[in-house]
């Protein structure tokens, strides 16, 4: 489903954030990605969504070669993914409902169907009562759940989350992890970057570890 072959990423300032990284994630897998701060976790996730382009190597996502992707094909790659960003990217000038509506809006979904889907996604993350609230009024955990709802509302086959439990206490983190598990159970491929040890202790799942941009085996 996702595979990296000898991928390196050098940023324009010359810093090499990923060095010769190779791995494969199979369809329906739930994989955790960990490593110290600055190890290159976010860089790796950005390469999958073509937010950054690799300097060397090749990346395949759902049988698409990301290297060869033309600029006007990138939106369609991103539509097949559900993305949760480390800096959340919530729009604070609109309600929770409108934020979650965004992915459906850019696909020109019919209004009624879309509203139904938004409510279903909010229900899934336990935010249904807050649909008319503005994001500033949400707690940290609620904001994270808003991001999850926005990432899954269009029912992607791959879910990619960057630090979804950052700054949350253990109970909150577990409840959010529970949401990811439920998506994994219905066949969604899930990749979560985290350095939350309470998640990493769960030995059911494969863990990829980055150290200074290199994958630790």
């Amino acid at each position: 489903m996702i595979s990296f072959v000898n991928v390196s990423k050098r940023y324009p300032d010359g810093f090499e954030a990923l060095k010769n990284v190779a791995f494969t994630i199979h369809p329906g897998e739930l994989v955790l990605l960990t490593g110290h701060s600055g190890a290159g976790k976010s860089t790796m996730l950005k390469l999958i969504a073509a937010i950054e382009r690799p300097t060397y190597g090749s990346i395949m996502v759902s049988d698409q070669n990301i290297n060869a992707l033309k600029k006007n094909a990138i939106p369609f790659l991103r539509r097949s993914l559900g993305l949760i960003f480390q800096d959340q990217k919530i729009l604070y000038d609109r309600t929770v409902f409108a934020n979650v509506m965004l992915p459906l809006q850019i696909r020109s979904f019919e209004k009624k169907t879309a509203a139904g889907r938004v409510r279903a996604a909010l229900d899934k993350v336990g935010l249904l009562g807050k649909e008319n609230a503005y994001p500033v009024t949400l707690s940290g955990g609620e904001k994270q759940r808003l991001c999850i709802a926005r990432a899954v509302v269009h029912r992607p086959s791959i879910l990619i989350a960057d630090e979804p439990t950052a700054n949350l206490d253990v109970d909150y983190a577990q409840s959010i992890m529970e949401v990811f598990r439920s998506f994994h159970q219905v066949g969604v491929t899930v990749l979560i970057a985290t350095h939350d040890t309470s998640l990493l202790n769960d030995t059911r799942y494969r863990t990829l570890t980055l150290n200074q941009g290199k994958l630790v085996v």
Partner: protein
């Protein structure tokens, strides 16, 4: 098709919402465009009105043929028969010096002067209506008749209309140049409004790109906005002109009653008005297109 339509409908409603949400700045730029456009538009309308007058006059060319003061009855009859055989003359009328004097006396204000004259200073004259002919042919007739004996002077009464016509054409050129200049102004105004809009919507654009919005989806509301701004500006200009014409016509009523004519200014024709709207929509769209090309590419998600 259905989804294509709904995409455009979505962009349009988003644009209209934007207009309503920022009423002051929207109104301001529409009024600015309106004022800029009403200048060439006003002159154009005025020229159009003057042109109908000059065209009416040019369409019925008239020559005045003045005889020498010592012309005899035989000369008059001679000229009369020559005119009867002359091609491209529709009709003519003889006005003797006595009748001319009478007419002069009847005109108010001049009666005193006329009755104080010792002898009649006026010449015999013919007024000639030609068929519809080109200005060159008219000029030929004039020079031919001028060479006849006992003719003192041949005057083409449409000369002033032709000069006016030439002047109007010059005016039209000036309007065209002004319109081109102000079209650039419209493009710049729209360019700048869209630039500001893109700046304020930076986050939304970035997030939209991240979750897979296509460039054309992101551009669409801005392009609509530009086109609508152009149309609204042109409509404002049209309205300003309508208001001015209304005002001028009201004060013209008094004047025309005095002269017993029915002259009034008319607004742009339907066709001209529609062209104006379409043209300014295109200009607005172009301004938005340029702005979007310039500013959207700078917003790359990271």
């Amino acid at each position: 098709m259905n989804s294509w339509l709904s995409q455009h409908w979505q962009a349009l409603s988003q644009t209209l919402r934007q207009l309503v949400n920022t009423p002051l700045s929207s109104l301001l730029s529409i009024v600015v465009i309106g004022i800029a456009f009403s200048l060439p538009l006003g002159i154009y309308t005025l020229l159009g009105n003057l042109q109908t007058i000059s065209e009416d006059v040019v369409k019925m060319p008239q020559l005045s043929l003045f005889l020498k003061l010592n012309a005899t009855q035989a000369d008059i009859e001679n000229i009369n028969s020559q005119l009867e055989e002359f091609p491209s003359i529709a009709s003519f009328q003889f006005i003797s010096k006595e009748i001319a004097l009478q007419q002069l006396q009847q005109e108010s204000g001049l009666a005193d002067i006329a009755s104080n004259l010792i002898s009649n200073p006026l010449p015999d004259a013919f007024i000639i209506n030609t068929q519809q002919i080109s200005p060159d042919d008219l000029e030929n007739i004039r020079t031919t008749i001028k060479k006849w004996p006992e003719i003192a002077h041949v005057q083409v009464d449409t000369d002033w209309a032709r000069r006016l016509d030439a002047l109007l054409r010059l005016g039209q050129l000036a309007v065209l140049m002004l319109a081109v200049l102000l079209s650039f102004a419209l493009i710049i105004v729209v360019f700048n409004t869209i630039r500001l809009q893109i700046l304020t919507k930076r986050d939304e654009i970035e997030v939209s790109k991240l979750i897979g919005a296509t460039d054309s989806y992101i551009q669409r509301p801005f392009l609509y906005f530009g086109a609508i701004q152009g149309i609204a500006g042109a409509a404002a200009a049209w309205f300003f002109i309508a208001l001015s014409i209304q005002t001028i016509n009201e004060s013209l009523i008094e004047l025309t009653q005095l002269y017993a004519t029915d002259f009034h200014l008319s607004h742009l024709s339907l066709q001209d008005s529609l062209s104006l709207l379409v043209f300014s929509a295109l200009l607005g769209w172009l301004g938005a297109r340029l702005s979007v090309a310039q500013h959207l590419s700078h917003i790359e998600p990271e």
